[in-house]
């Protein structure tokens, strides 16, 4: 039991961080970023390159992932989403654009890093064994704790900084925010950069545990959408709750359901479909439209 909860918390923290980035971008720009998973993978490869290939400290790799993805996010917003949103009359255009960016990033990653699974040396060795009730390697504990620290920092930033307040205002009422002097272009770019940066950070964190490969992008995006749907789109608390719920479900599923075969995600999808038919706006969400 304790083991399931510990695994769920560890997974949930990573997932919540991924979902936070996705939901921030959605809340600010009404864009579903299909390329979120690819941004996560790119973050993994950057840390791999800095830490495993160049032999620099892990922290340097993690910072490089964050900065790289923030820059990628800012560029993608400024030169791709902004002009499309300005000209397009239909919301589907941004979805197509996001899907296009996903394929593009896949191709870039394939060219730059190849198709092989890559791992990095362990950041710390040893395993915590609490009376055989919880057995967890120290590196997982550290990565889980780092993820939770990043989540906490992000929430505090959104809640108490002037920039965070402006982004919340923009998400809640675009026109009113503009009339208070919030520059929509500038804060959309900051928000997109932040969201992409969070994806990059998770990539850098998780490469130390699971490694990274090209194929992880798509499934990660799908998981991120699921979390956001569980919690409610565009709501920060929803993304966090959704992340931890999915992490917990996966942890329970892998322990309890594995004896019946690889059906964890089958059960999760069915549960999600039933849940959404009763509560389409998610747990914390406001109804669509």
């Amino acid at each position: 039991m304790e083991q399931i909860i510990a695994n769920g918390l560890y997974l949930g923290a990573q997932y919540a961080l991924i979902a936070l980035g996705l939901t921030l971008i959605f809340a600010l720009m009404n864009v579903l970023n299909f390329a979120h998973g690819q941004m996560y993978v790119l973050g993994g490869f950057v840390t791999y390159t800095i830490y495993a290939q160049l032999g620099m400290p892990f922290v340097a790799g993690l910072l490089a992932s964050a900065v790289t993805l923030a820059v990628v996010g800012a560029i993608v917003e400024k030169f791709l989403f902004r002009p499309v949103i300005k000209r397009s009359l239909r919301e589907e255009s941004t979805m197509l654009l996001a899907a296009g960016i996903a394929f593009f990033l896949d191709a870039v990653i394939l060219l730059a890093f190849g198709e092989k699974q890559r791992g990095v040396p362990k950041i710390i060795h040893g395993v915590l064994n609490w009376d055989f009730r919880i057995i967890m390697p120290y590196d997982r504990i550290l990565i889980g704790a780092l993820a939770i620290a990043v989540i906490a920092t992000f929430i505090l930033y959104m809640q108490y900084s002037k920039t965070g307040r402006a982004m919340r205002a923009l998400a809640q009422d675009r026109v009113a925010a503009q009339l208070m002097g919030v520059d929509v272009n500038r804060y959309s770019m900051i928000g997109f950069a932040l969201g992409a940066m969070l994806a990059g950070i998770v990539g850098g964190l998780l490469v130390t545990i699971t490694g990274v490969n090209l194929g992880m992008g798509g499934p990660t995006s799908i998981k991120a959408f699921m979390m956001v749907m569980i919690g409610g789109a565009g709501v920060i608390s929803g993304a966090i709750v959704g992340g931890f719920i999915l992490g917990m479900m996966e942890s329970i599923g892998l322990t309890v359901l594995s004896q019946y075969g690889d059906i964890t995600y089958l059960v999760i999808f069915v549960t999600l479909m039933v849940f959404l038919s009763f509560r389409p706006q998610g747990l914390m969400g406001k109804p669509w439209g």
Partner: protein, 240 residues
């Protein structure tokens, strides 16, 4: 003396439907000017033309002697023009406090912001009682006080009010009218007031323009317009 705000033959249309057909209005420093008229007469379009929410197609807008049209909506605030949009539009999931602080978004001097905050809470004691509450849970009248307070946090020279009495309980309409009077008098803020409640608008303004289908049809001193037969027939008829 040069007017604070001057609109010169402004034309504006949405998808080829004319909203303003060459409107010229002036507002002098310290004045409260009302724009009255029926729905669709173009009152709100004038405010949207001033703030840059909608680009104008012909004509010019001047503020303090410089050209205003073409300036982005988010840059207008720094010049001292703040608009309170129709329908209140608080930030619904933010606290009253954060809503008010958003009003001071373009300001940096913490001490001065604190002073403005105290001033607003003094003017609207209800907001003080609701200080940590989420804005979406306030009543309509309280939300109207909040958006006016939020606008004052920007320290405006010119306050643009779009239908502040719309959907508010009659008792509170009087409170809001009194606040607008006091803001104009005590804080030397010039006010451009768009209202369907013409009697209220004329009773708290110095001058007024009556609009119909995108044109100014009558202009004059508010106290004269209150007695004007044309205005009475067209705008004051059924109202109490």
């Amino acid at each position: 003396m040069e007017p604070l705000l001057h609109l010169d033959k402004v034309e504006l249309y949405y998808d080829h439907v004319y909203a303003l057909k060459g409107v010229s209005i002036d507002l002098n420093e310290g004045e409260t000017v009302a724009l009255i008229g029926a729905n669709g007469a173009g009152k709100s379009s004038i405010l949207r033309a001033i703030t840059g929410l909608n680009p104008i197609h012909r004509g010019e807008v001047h503020f303090q002697g410089s050209r205003l049209d073409g300036t982005r909506a988010s840059d207008i605030v720094k010049l001292g023009i703040v608009m309170v949009p129709e329908g209140r539009r608080v930030f619904p999931y933010m606290s009253v406090r954060d809503n008010l602080l958003m009003g001071a978004f373009t300001r940096d001097d913490k001490a001065a912001i604190k002073q403005s905050l105290d001033g607003v809470l003094h003017r609207f004691p209800r907001l003080k009682e609701r200080y940590s509450q989420t804005a979406g849970t306030l009543s309509g009248g309280e939300q109207q006080m909040l958006v006016i307070g939020r606008a004052l946090m920007a320290k405006p020279k010119l306050l643009l009010l779009d239908e502040p009495s719309l959907g508010i309980a009659p008792k509170l309409v009087q409170d809001i009218a009194r606040s607008i009077l006091a803001i104009n008098r005590d804080e030397k803020v010039s006010v451009l007031l768009v209202e369907q409640n013409s009697r209220m608008a004329l009773s708290i303004s110095h001058r007024a323009y009556a609009l119909a289908t995108g044109n100014v049809v009558v202009a004059g001193q508010s106290k004269d317009l209150l007695k004007d037969e044309r205005i009475k027939a067209a705008y004051l008829g059924g109202e109490i």
